[in-house]
Symmetry: C2
Subunit: 138 residues, 2 copies
DNA sequence: TACTTTACTTGCTTTTTGCAAGTAATTATC
DNA sequence: GATAATTACTTGCAAAAAGCAAGTAAAGTA
């Protein structure tokens, strides 16, 4: 059990106690927007997370109830990671990170996704939350 | 000039290249929701940031154009930090961190602020952005 | 002139990250 | 049925970042 220390009772602080690093939201991004669900898939992302850091972050996210780890349906040697409701609730945060980054940094994002997020953020958030929820029920 | 390396062209990743740590959003929170603007004020927050880390983060945020550093109006020995437009644009991210933390962690947040954010997030975001913008024009 | 305020800087220890290699249980192939 | 490949890690070590205590320097106050 990975236990995190809570630095204060401020909700921004408690959120950052869990998500305050350069990698955690990239794992969640991969689950929400790329449909990834295995250790091997997370390793393939462009940012090249180290294997020990990935293992550590997955353990933290599992212990914090943000995702679940189960043996894959097709292979016993594989694990499937799925978002819990608590994990699905991070979608609005990730969407705001997408919008800020795409507005203020040189990025390369699918124009249709960006248009979707900019035109009707609320609907887009609900859509990706629904997709993530459906995956967790497979 | 603090220069950051961009790990990929993904907007989530570029946002995290700047904000991906446990302290940066706490500084921005203090500016947006507590009206803080000086080094000494940031040091007083409950989470107790180390002085060298605070100095480093302020330098990064300044070099990234998220805040400006000017000599204070009243004292030449004091600096005033203010959000730029790019900084004001982080308010929606911080608001989502507040909402997630207050929903999923044991926190202690003013109930009227929480009600304000939950009832009409868009209006609340605009209100705090406007307040931050007005401060930057003083 | 001495003391305080304000904003750091420095030095040192601890923790986290990054990188390369190794391991162990399945699963696929010959 | 032995051999190789997949999949998900673990381990060891160097480098970077964070944490802590103390020191510095310019400006303001008594």
């Amino acid at each position: 059990m990975k236990e995190l220390k809570q630095r204060s009772a401020c909700p921004v602080s408690t959120s950052l106690d869990i998500f305050g690093d350069k990698w955690t939201f990239l794992i969640l991004r991969d689950m929400v927007f790329a449909g990834k669900s295995t250790y091997g898939e997370f390793l393939l992302s462009a940012e090249k997370i180290a294997t020990n850091v990935l293992a550590d972050r997955l353990a933290v996210l599992e212990s914090q109830g943000i995702l679940t780890k189960t043996v894959a349906a097709d292979k016993k040697s594989k694990f499937t990671y799925r978002l819990t409701g608590k994990g699905v609730d991070t979608v609005p945060i990730i969407v705001e990170l997408v919008l800020w980054g795409s507005r203020h940094c040189p990025t390369d994002i699918a124009t249709d996704l960006l248009a979707e997020l900019r035109t009707d953020k609320g609907t887009a958030v609900e859509k990706y939350q629904k997709l993530a929820r459906e995956k967790s029920l497979i």
